[in-house]
Assembly symmetry: C2
Homo-oligomer: 399 residues x 2
């Protein structure tokens, strides 16, 4: 199977128009494009109004448009919040002439504040006028939903269907803080469109698998939002594609978006990829990989480029992850890669390569390969970033 | 039951002598005092040599002496590490003339480095000469085991036995970073002595209950060490005491030590106490309380004194904690207390008292009372501290 990265963002998918505007910290994005749809939602017990609303909308398995705002999460906003989420769907429905029951609504921003519906109505008027199937439409939508993000996040790929045809799978996402590994990560929104013609069941099955191996393996800070949502819509305007190829392409797009979120972690200076292998089960491998990218001590040792601390902290993080009681971790090996590569812990023994480790940690991309050495063959990959003084400053609002 | 806080630290217990020295970041503490003993150990899958060694020593339920070093965790040090832990016990045993099998060994410091046994032997010679039942002995031992701690931690209480008698329960502890809620918290050592005459079973039962409601509810950063240990020894040199009174006194001592660890969290500027009530079960209340004190976003909002963010982040942290699916959290209430007190979220509704909240957050001690409003009556309390730029600087080794 051949995956080619293409330009155009969401608008590279046939049948999709998009646009968005941002005024101060309040933005509005609109995406038009109908078809079978599937979604995944935060597992936080407190779900924002748009999460509960859109989950219901998706019961029929179709979406015709997405309206999303930044600057207010519409979370913990009671009945008024639910009415406002519904009102957003109504407004989009009447602007676009689509069924009100096929409009998805997403919000991101602070919790416990009501939406300014007058502002949303005014912004929507402008956004509708800007709707375009050009690349700039996708970019404008991706920028409109940014909060503490420092860059907008788009990925688009084209896949050969094997019958001289091509289908596109394209997504935009936002996310920078409140990112933790559950369902979806956290204040993390992703909209993925495809013009491949895909069954509803394949759509939801592929989405679950792709999210599990991408957003759910991405940690910025370990906090979980009340607003996470990933939506997948198939316009069906291109050909069919095998189930396996579709899932592979979708996973690629989700992983690219997840890595962009990790790279843009609040205050991050370094990108971290952790691959755990040699685990007795995939669940063990996933737990260990996430434990490493979530550990404040591992993350701050990477920020501080500390060759003397990094491996000990990785081992403590592996040991504290949920791994069956009878697993022996004395044969663990750790390789560090980046601008150079080194086997820093070899079958349980600490090697003295602190000079090389320092050079690796000095780079902007750190790849940590951990072989648990249990004799198992399961593996998993997780993504994250370092923990910096700026993360604290951003979230404390101090300078 | 009357608990009176007294002076003297460990040495307020009849039959205990202690001393310690610290040279640079390498310290050694020795405590002499024999009796029935119980211990609790890290649940990290990778356990340091002294943890495995001391767990085995405790199988007979007696301890005659404790030797503890700082500056090297003797963790992930293979067979050499186990030999060194045993050697430490032998050295203490021959200095004090006690049974080698009744010496507990504890270590704290960086992982993956072998002990300098020559240094330990030399330091032990000096420490033995200093052993004293005076207050200064306990303080010297508490100071010797400090790592990133900024102050030493001692607590001592006297309890009326009801028969004109008094028993003492006294402890020292160390801990500042790598503190997370499992068994014991993390790179957290605590030695507790009592001269009450207590059965072995009561000793271990009371210790489990006390640790569960103290150290296990304390979070600095959510990282779990490979070296955590809490030891409880009864010299039995004073009278008997009822089981209930003993557990209450022991819990008090453990909570005081746990709070000292929270106050001394790496980089901390504020102490946080979270009480969750109105939960359907104690497990729910504990999970919610720990989730709040562990949330980087809650902790950084407190550091930044942000009245606009604190309640939303508390709610997201509660929602992400493991609480049964069918629990309705829409009726949650949050009170903030400190220099003032305010009901900030009333039965699901955000109140606008940002001025008062700002004054409370400006204080050094923040008390957060969360009533989940589920109709349940279970409650739990957790302790922690704010997340500051200095936490990152300390653990990154940057300035």
């Amino acid at each position: 199977m051949k995956i080619e990265v293409i330009k155009g963002g969401l608008c590279a998918v046939k049948g999709v128009r998009a646009y968005g505007i941002k005024e101060g910290n309040k933005g509005l994005a609109l995406i038009e494009g109908g078809g079978k749809a599937s979604g995944m939602f935060t597992t936080n017990k407190i779900k924002a109004a748009p999460v509960r609303f859109t989950k219901k909308q998706l019961e029929k398995g179709r979406i015709s448009a997405i309206i999303a705002n930044s600057g207010c999460a519409n979370s913990f906003t009671g009945e008024q919040g639910m009415r406002n989420a519904e009102k957003m769907a109504e407004l989009a429905s009447s602007c676009l002439g689509v069924d009100k029951e096929e409009v998805a609504v997403l919000s991101t921003g602070p919790i416990g504040v009501q939406l300014d519906m007058g502002l949303i109505e005014r912004q929507l008027g402008e956004v509708v006028k800007g709707l375009t199937s050009g690349e700039e439409g996708s970019t404008a939508a991706a920028k409109a939903i940014m909060t503490t993000d420092t860059f907008h996040k788009e990925t688009a790929v084209s896949i050969d269907t094997g019958n001289d045809g091509q289908v596109a799978i394209c997504g935009i996402a936002k996310g920078s803080g409140m990112i933790a590994p559950h369902m979806t990560t956290a204040t993390m929104l992703a909209f993925i469109y495809t013009d491949a013609s895909v069954d509803g069941e394949v759509l939801s099955g592929s989405l679950e698998a792709a999210v599990d191996n991408s957003f759910n393996m991405t940690v910025v800070d370990g906090d979980m939002s009340t607003n996470d949502m990933v939506l997948l819509v198939s316009t069906g305007k291109s050909g069919k594609i095998s189930e396996g190829d579709f899932e592979e392409g979708l996973t690629f797009v989700c992983q690219e978006l997840a890595k962009l979120i990790a790279r843009d972690g609040e205050g991050a200076t370094k990108f971290i990829e952790v691959k755990v292998s040699g685990a007795p089960s995939v669940a063990d491998a996933r737990a260990a990989a996430r434990s490493i990218v979530q550990s404040p001590l591992v993350k701050s040792a990477i920020f501080g480029e500390r060759p003397d601390l990094i491996c000990g902290r990785i081992i403590a993080a592996v040991g504290s992850s949920v791994i069956a009681d009878d697993v022996d971790l004395e044969g663990i090996s750790i390789s560090l890669k980046g601008t150079k590569a080194i086997l820093a812990v070899d079958n349980g023994e600490f090697m003295d390569f602190s000079g090389v480790v320092r050079i690796i940690l000095n780079g902007k991309e750190i790849f940590i390969d951990v072989d648990l050495g249990t004799g198992g063959e399961a593996e998993a990959t997780a993504w994250g970033c370092d923990l910096t003084c700026d993360y604290v400053r951003i979230n404390a609002g101090v300078h």
